[in-house]
Symmetry: C2
Subunit: 344 residues, 2 copies
């Protein structure tokens, strides 16, 4: 009574065998329409639903995808994840989100979970690219993997954002406005976005014939909470920047705090450029000029790449998809108040 009906119950009720029931339900062909009807009637009557666990056992596929990301509360990640989930779900996969908090132990634990639970694949947008253990664990998991904005390990399919181009756009704009000392706040250079953004920053500066002051490039240790002290130090130094590019969603909150604490006016005292079309950047006053990109597309592209692998499509070499950025000018930038630091 309380027990869920099994395929055997259906077979009995339909007066046939389990094999036939299974075939009617899955195989499609090889089933007389009479049998088909009998089976379907029994299924409806008993409210039978196949047991996915038993199917997984038999088929060696759990139809489950894991997604490793550092932090679900980051609105940028949320949109990517949503889009990826939607796509995968349409293909019958269940999407398991795992937040690693950028903790290596947790990453390893997640990867082990993928193996032990026989999950079918993973989308990874967490982790420092230099973590050897994570990389080998990934390889040992022996499942299809798609990386988002990571280029290590190189053997996997990946979806990239053209952060370098975005940084160049931002810098050219600022340089055009007359800025010469621009601070760059980044996530770690141990991940692709940080590296690419720093590269773009340097490239634009070099193009304009401005020397790169390494002091102005500030990779932030913790990506989640901006180290408030760091920017304070910068602003109190002898040659404070006239503009700041904040290429991390969460860091922006920290910068905003500094701005209001020190009663700085934007853009008169300081120009600001950030990333992402978030509520914070759009409804700040003034609204903040940003580099943005299509987050949903990023998620979809990753899912599509994974689905291809899941469907057994073999390629010579890993696929890489690169998405462009867009530069949205709002009200947070103006020419510098006074000329930049003295130069010879």
């Amino acid at each position: 009574m309380t027990r869920r009906p099994t395929i055997r119950d259906v077979a009995k009720a339909a007066g046939t065998s389990v094999g036939s029931v299974s075939r009617v339900l899955n195989g499609g062909p090889y089933a007389s329409s009479e049998l088909h009807n009998k089976v379907m009637r029994a299924v409806a009557k008993l409210g039978y639903e196949p047991d996915v666990v038993a199917q997984s056992m038999r088929l060696k596929s759990t139809k489950t995808i894991a997604c490793l990301l550092a932090d679900i509360a980051n609105p940028l990640y949320a949109e990517i994840v949503n889009a990826a989930e939607e796509r995968l779900q349409k293909e019958g996969y269940v999407f398991v989100l795992s937040t690693t908090r950028n903790d290596e132990e947790r990453e390893l634990a997640m990867i082990s979970m993928v193996r032990r639970r026989r999950m079918d694949g993973m989308i990874v947008m967490a982790s420092d690219e230099t973590r050897k253990d994570v990389n080998t664990a990934l390889a040992e998991a022996a499942v299809p993997v798609v990386l988002i904005d990571r280029e290590v390990p190189a053997k996997y399919d990946a979806v990239y954002v053209d952060h370098r181009g975005g940084a160049i756009d931002a810098m050219r704009y600022l340089i055009g406005l007359g800025h010469k000392r621009v601070a760059l706040l980044l996530p770690s250079e141990h991940v692709r976005p940080g590296r690419e953004r720093a590269a773009g920053y340097r490239q634009a500066l070099t193009e304009a014939g401005i020397a790169v002051d390494p002091e102005l490039i500030r990779p932030q240790k913790t990506s989640v909470h901006f180290s408030y002290a760091d920017i304070e130090k910068l602003l109190q130094g002898p040659h404070p920047p006239t503009a700041i590019i904040v290429l991390g969603t969460r860091m922006l909150a920290g910068v905003m705090k500094t701005v209001s604490t020190r009663n700085l006016r934007i853009p008169e005292d300081l120009s600001l450029i950030s990333i992402g079309d978030t509520d914070l950047t759009r409804f700040a006053s003034p609204p903040i000029t940003v580099v943005r990109w299509d987050l949903a597309e990023l998620g979809r592209a990753a899912a599509d790449l994974l689905i291809e692998q899941l469907n057994g499509v073999k390629r010579e070499r890993p696929q890489h998809i690169s998405l462009p950025t867009e530069f949205i000018i709002r009200g947070s930038c103006a020419p510098p108040k006074k000329p930049g630091a003295k130069r010879p």
Copy 2:
């Protein structure tokens, strides 16, 4: 070679039987230390990891919890989910997040997934409480359920936030400042938070001897995107409100848009109160006065309730936990510029 080792391989390598291996790995007792060593050595040598799917098959528990929520991109939800996941993970459960986008079809699909995948329980913070089909599906799923901020179906454990108290705090404050016409923007009254907030709003007004103008209570159809037109209409009417309480995270973005479009000054032209300690409310200028509550605690409490049920703790009646709100005064409220609408 490429095949994963099974318990049988371990038994062979250890020169014992599958039963013993299984006992050493799980049972704990009944294992001579010599056997224990042999088995562990074999496990290490082969890199054996138990197959969770097979275990689920046998034990009829997948150690998996589903979490239904409307929208992962909402930063308030994100924090709740994070806290719940952390707790559940510690107990060995995997947490499957499913976004329903407030779509009944999707909710039903998710619940069906829980059944077919033999998941062990669910945390629900989605759905209109009046959806009959969802409620019956929930009951038929026949698994432990914990509701977050929903009181229907009444048979389940639930964690509540004292939204009524929060609304009262906000209204008393505004009334104390001299406001008489306060608009209330709400999610649907078909969910508990909407109902409670409206009740608190009315109660505070009644206490102060101010008549409730039903025109000022505006439940928003779509909770994700604020209907911009609605607030516009309100502000252009004959008796515009002098203050607005925006009790929905996402709606606030819409209100902010109106504010900047119409060049309204806050708090001089309009007082504003919202919810949640988000980047948007904290770093707006002026920072916005809000009603907040402990999101992480909400998630943890829900997880704890669920774990209790999972562990087979039986209670006479469903457990209900209620969390208080906190009123944080920032700079978005001031006395009304001119007296409220004329009164007899």
